[in-house]
Amino acid sequence: MPSHNGNGATAPSGFSGARRSIGSPQFSIRRMEVDALSVSYATREAVKSVSLPIRQGEVLAMIGPSGCGKTTLLRSLNRLTELTRTARVSGRILLDDVDIGLIEPTLLRRRVTMVFQQPNPFPMSVFDNIAYVLREQGSRRQRRKTLEPKVHSALDRAGLFEEVKDNLDHPALRLSGGQQQRLCIARALAAEPEVLLLDEPCSALDPQSTQVIEDLIVNLRDDVAVVIVTHNLQQAYRIADHVAFMYLGDLVEYGAATTLFGSPREKRTQEYVSGAFG
């Protein structure tokens, strides 16, 4: 069933059967602005002068073949690139019109949180995983009673609460892969961020879990700006409002998902999207 969008164009042949899970966004607020960002590791340029906006109210997907710089770009949004000593960053990234270079990294990372490719729940109970984020932000030891509602609400937003509500004190490592990843998402949401970054969150999961997480991501876009890096083109088509295609460090094309997949401007985009290279 071909999808309909404003242009009236239909999806390209690769996506003719695919359905978009995501409707048009209700609203959009510009949260972050990437302005001529370049990142290089020692001698290698990973990201070359990229500019794009990140908005609350919509999902931004970054696609491209391996090594194109999409993960590096994602990691520079919360200054995780600084953990690598050889990284050099130039250009600006603004969060709510403030250069993130001026914000203390730890504070920045509470407003821009990240979920990683490999689920990494801490070796604690489910409750403590979420409570960890809440506890380590305040100086006073908070009682469990105070934390409970926030933990429950974070789990609820991640769609995990029903499944674990009776086992909140069980070790998180005993959850299944999909549940662990949703726990990581709940953890990231517990910090009440403005932007949520996801680095190939489903690549280590089975299709059922992937489906669940994709629905979850779509539902989150009103609350947080979502940026997801994925190498799965179908996934990007299903859940993204905007797509950025990167190749060898350059931002080749940025546009609405339906446009980019339907009638991309650049030839390279067309080739990638139709599977000519990967």
């Binding site: 995780l80 730890t106 990494n120 070796p123 960890y132 380590e136």
Partner: protein, 332 residues
């Protein structure tokens, strides 16, 4: 496996069977040696335990007097005297080992965290060799510095006259003390703990640390709440191994803790840390000339048996802890 006829230049033709049998015999010999050691020590110790029963571990009388009586009875013609109540030695061992392990534990934990996470590179390039150096200094040198520097300092500058007078009849506060022993013993075992702790902290899954940082938790909290918490088995192992080492330390303590058997009394207040005492291991060293007398020989072996049992138990416990961690992928 058949021995092929190889030309001379391939060297001596040892078959694998022969080699395996020989090496196996060597290994068995080592195991038998250890068993012989254990059996010998306990067999020699038995008369002392048998004659005293559980009172061996109890209090009563002064250990030095008892040893003297035991020794003399071995030389004379009348029956052997075995009466021995080791409580003063046990209490001294407990206090000194406990104090040193406690002090070294906190210091080593902070130093290990510092070394792995927070020390800038020039600092860690200095601190790591320093820790290795401190671990390799012979105990007799620690003892020498203790007896020539620490003990006089405590005796002359820390102990006050009124304090000395208050216990004058019972014991003399000359600087040979609990404090000196605990401080130097802590210094001796801290490097061992530091290296085991830092190995454990270093081997935490980096994904957890990155994940914690990416949630906006600062590096200090991340290190302590995730890395140190996960490295708990290594921390246990390090503590236990250091305790084994502390229990077995004889020479340095012989030089520094005092030459009298005495049970320091916490009820004495602050003076308590200045009181001399002598734990189990140095007692053997100090009385080593008495081995010729049969009952004294048995008594010293009994003390050795207690040392052997406790130190070996702690060592094996620490080793098991390290091995079980290796099973889960962490190294220690």
């Amino acid at each position: 496996m058949e021995e092929a006829h190889l030309p001379e230049e391939y060297g001596p033709r040892w078959s694998d069977q022969r080699a395996e049998r020989l090496l196996g015999a060597l290994v068995c010999a080592v195991v038998v040696l250890l068993l012989a050691l254990i059996v010998t020590v306990f067999w020699r110790a038995w008369p002392s335990f048998a004659h005293n029963g559980l009172a061996w571990f109890g209090a009563g009388g002064n250990v030095d007097d008892q040893i003297n009586r035991i020794y003399l009875s071995g030389l004379g013609g009348e029956g052997f005297v075995y009466t021995f109540h080791a409580w003063q030695l046990l209490w001294s061992t407990f206090l000194i080992t406990g104090g040193a392990v406690l002090l070294a534990f906190f210091s080593s934990l902070f130093v290990a965290v510092f070394l792995v996470e927070f020390a800038p590179e020039p600092m860690s390039n200095v601190l790591a060799p320093v820790v290795r150096f401190l671990a390799s200094v012979p105990s007799v040198i620690y003892g020498l510095l203790g007896v020539l520097l620490v003990v006089p300092f405590i005796g002359n500058h820390l102990v006050t006259e009124p304090q000395r007078a208050s216990v004058a009849g019972v014991i003399s506060l000359s600087g040979y003390s609990l404090l000196a022993a605990v401080l130097i013993l802590a210094l001796m075992i801290a490097p061992l703990m530091t290296s085991i702790f830092s190995d454990g902290i270093r081997s935490v899954r980096p994904g957890w640390l990155e994940g914690s940082l990416a949630l906006g938790v600062n590096r200090w909290r991340t290190t302590w709440k995730i890395a140190v918490r996960t490295a708990r088995p290594a921390i246990v192992a390090g503590t236990v191994l250091a305790t084994a080492r502390a229990i077995g330390e004889a020479v340095m303590l012989a030089m520094v803790s005092g030459s009298v058997a005495f049970a320091p009394n916490p009820a004495d207040g602050l003076i308590f840390i200045f009181e001399p005492s002598r734990p189990l291991a140095p007692t053997i060293v100090k009385n080593i000339d008495l081995l010729g007398s049969e009952p004294a020989n048995n008594t010293l072996f009994a003390i050795a048996a207690v040392l052997l049992f406790s130190a070996t138990m702690f060592s094996l416990a620490g080793w098991f802890a390290r091995r079980s961690m290796r099973k889960y992928g962490a190294t220690a």
